[in-house]
Amino acid sequence: MEYLAQAAQNPLIPTAAELIIGTVCFVLVFGILGYLLMPRILRMLAERTESIEGGLARAEEAQAEANRLLEQYRQQLAEARHEAARLREEAREQGAQIVAEMREQAQGEARRITEAAQAQIEAERQQALTALHTQVGTLATELASRIVGESLTDEARQHRMVDRFLGELEQPAARQ
């Protein structure tokens, strides 16, 4: 009881035991927090910040990559469309050219055939003419010799003879 009576006098004067316990308590708190626990959490906080920033950077990178690919695809698509249009155009041109060539060729062929036919006709006509020439001479000679051989007194006989001659001429043709 006398301990309480003397200690109660001045609240600003500490007791030795309190000083010791107070110091030990705080040193323990600071020692464990400051050297064991806080470094761990601060490291973790730094890591977390880094990973979040890293994640953001990665996402941004991926986005950029996606954009780049999209652009590339678009470009390729446009190129392909362009190429297809060009090919179509080329094909049309080629087709038109082929048609034109074919038509020209066909016309040339037709002309050639026509010309050949005309030449043949001409040749046959010449041949016929030549044959006619020779035959006309022979026939005329033969007819003249018959007319001269028979007496040409009677006009009726002359007619009959001419008819007969012509009839003979036609008969071999009919027989053939």
Partner: protein
Amino acid sequence: MTGEVRLTAASTGGCHLFSGCGYPAPGLQDFEFKPLFTVGSLHFTKPMLLAVLCAAGVIAFFWAAFWRPKMVPRGAQNLAELGILAVRDQILRPALGRRGDRYLPFLVSLFFFIWVCNLMELFPVFQFPVMSRIGFVWPLVIIVYLLYLYLGFRHQGLWGYFRNMIPPGVPFFILPILIPVELARFFVVQPFTLGVRLFANMFAGHLLLTIFYLATWYLASLSIGLLYAVGSAAMVVFVFLLELLVDLLQAFIFTTLTATYIASSLEPAH
């Protein structure tokens, strides 16, 4: 009669209004405790037990929170991170900026130890603010001051440290007055106010709570006193909430001043 005895008398119900005994006003004696045990000449008392419990509690909480920190925080880690980041952003950064981050563990220890010690006044059973015993305040002040002086000497030099106490351009004849005043400020007034502010607030808070606790009980008799007892009980609730704020505020102030001292040691104020 000692406080313990009178408190016991009041709280075990013998003493009420009109029952012949006076109001057992709380006083200095309520801050004295019978030793739980004694080693040599050192008495181990309830406040010391509370201090040890507070230290153990703070360590246990942060151990649970930070021993195996997770990338995605959960539970205790979440709460403790909130706590240390609050100390960093509300106390450390405003005073010291980013260069002060290496003092964060010190300030966090200081803040949470003081806060939990203060909160002891509100918990039933404990019901005593450790920091209302100045023996627990001075060690903190001494440690803060040792750090303060050490950093000052290291960053400004021994001579430069004292020279920087005197603002430049002061007339020569003022120095004989200024130097003692400044020295007194640095080595007596500042540490004294740092410690006593915390101590006195906790002391007063405990006194206030005790006054209204005791008054409520003392007035609660079958008489007009019952009415006053209800008023006193309302005051208990009010003071309780007030102390909840003061406990936090005093821990905050002590830590903020420490941060300011460290900042002024790192570079002279003028």
